[in-house]
Subunit: 274 residues, 2 copies
């Protein structure tokens, strides 16, 4: 089994980006909208911010109180989006539960949406007309390309249909005219589908869900799940039992995660220089 080293590829992408940003006339600035306080989210934002600033991206934080209303937050984000200096805007998820998430995400114009989460950006991606890829999907494609994994002529099984992993991965594989399955229903016994997978992409947030017994000998396992367990990021894959059967594994941490951040910054630069 070979580990897919997202961290190493991310470092190379960030190094190239740094050189590119140095040559861009207009400063690249990422606006980060956060509602509420959460120590895990905060430590994640601190890391993202450090990585951004290390490549020359200016980061501007926009914190809001946890009890802000949907309408007030939408109004404020519209102002942030229209601030010319902000070349991209991201909204830190999860938002407080009382907030209408998609309505908030839709306040971001497609040309300032490096996360590809507004319905307009998603629509552009769904019809194959987006200048950038949803970051997790960009990360997965980069891993496959780097390690010579042929996702176009294989059966990929996506576990979960969430907005960050499963849905954009499905749109991507439709654009690629691949053969793929999506399993997002815990009432359906998907054992046969999963056992047929050449490539498994998982984004369900259940630690240890994917075990060696479920997968085909030689399968590629790409863990894009993230859950927090005792202050530590954990994926969906039980790496110990998967190791003897898988050909490649993108682990958590070190696989999809660091590459996702690098692709987010790459998207930001792409949008800033359109």
């Amino acid at each position: 089994m070979i580990l897919l080293d997202g961290k190493k590829i991310a470092e190379r992408i960030l190094k190239d980006l740094k050189a590119e940003i140095a040559g861009v006339e207009k400063p690249v600035r990422l606006a980060v909208v956060v509602a509420g306080k959460d120590p895990v989210i905060e430590s994640f934002i601190v890391q993202k911010r450090k990585a951004a600033e290390s490549v020359g991206i200016d980061v501007r934080m926009y914190p809001f109180p946890v009890d802000i209303t949907t309408n007030e937050l939408r109004k404020r984000i519209a102002e942030i989006v229209h601030e010319e200096k902000n070349t991209g805007v991201i909204i830190q998820l999860p938002l407080p539960l009382h907030i209408n998430k998609q309505y908030i995400l839709n306040a971001i114009l497609p040309e300032k949406d490096p996360d590809v989460l507004s319905s307009r950006a998603i629509g552009n991606f769904a019809v194959g007309k987006s200048p950038v890829m949803p970051p997790v999907v960009g990360a997965i494609q980069t891993l496959c390309d780097e390690y010579g994994i042929d996702y176009k002529n294989k059966h990929t099984v996506i576990l979960g249909a969430g907005v960050l992993v499963g849905r954009p991965a499905a749109l991507w594989l439709m654009n690629e005219h691949a053969a793929f399955s999506v399993v997002a229903n815990s009432r359906y016994d998907a054992g046969r589908i999963i056992a047929d997978a050449d490539i498994i992409i998982t984004g369900i947030g259940k630690p240890g869900f994917v075990t060696g017994a479920m997968i085909k000998q030689g399968a590629v396992v790409i863990d894009a799940g993230t859950s927090e367990s005792e202050g530590k990021m954990t994926g969906d894959v039980d790496v110990d039992s998967v190791t003897p059967r898988a050909s490649y594994v993108a682990p958590v941490p070190g696989g999809v995660g660091p590459l996702t951040v690098a692709i987010l910054f790459k998207n930001l630069v792409t949008l800033a220089t359109l």
Copy 2:
């Protein structure tokens, strides 16, 4: 094997719509944009128009020459969309090959897009926030609901990833958190995936592609394929060989097709009365 009778359900929907339209103050008007001339397309439009007018929908045709440029057509459609009397606008596909199809479809505002083909309307549907369903998908869901076919807890296999059938069907099943597969690559041997399907939705345009030998005993086969053969509409399914094995078949003609037209009109009324 039971035939799914889309025609009968469509007649009921149209009857209900006629009553509803009679009660709507503002006239419901469908603008139909056609570029070029084609006898098959024209006969299809004549049928659609007759059905529309029979329920009280005003139809306004906008014909354009086959050699119109993309930019000119886009400009003209923008005018058609902004004409207040047009409560919905559809663009007859296929467009001439030199036309940038998605750019043309994107000229339709989501609130006047009963076909759900602009990238904005698709994006709204992809995030579960569209007031209307893509007509083919609405037709398939109506057939399943009428005949008690449980698509939420089964494995549905979609053959083809085209804009009219495969892609919207995949978005629909993601919204439903179902288990489904999409096969859109003729280089991948999808025999095992198809043989596992409880429900098959096909929209590839290859007459006779789906045969009895490919499907599981008791499978539901929904034919949404359309190709023209000797002036006659043909689906993707070889009904003779499928009949002894399938539990239900939605045939061409008489299955998805007439219902798709009824759902299109229903969408038009929904959008006109939002």
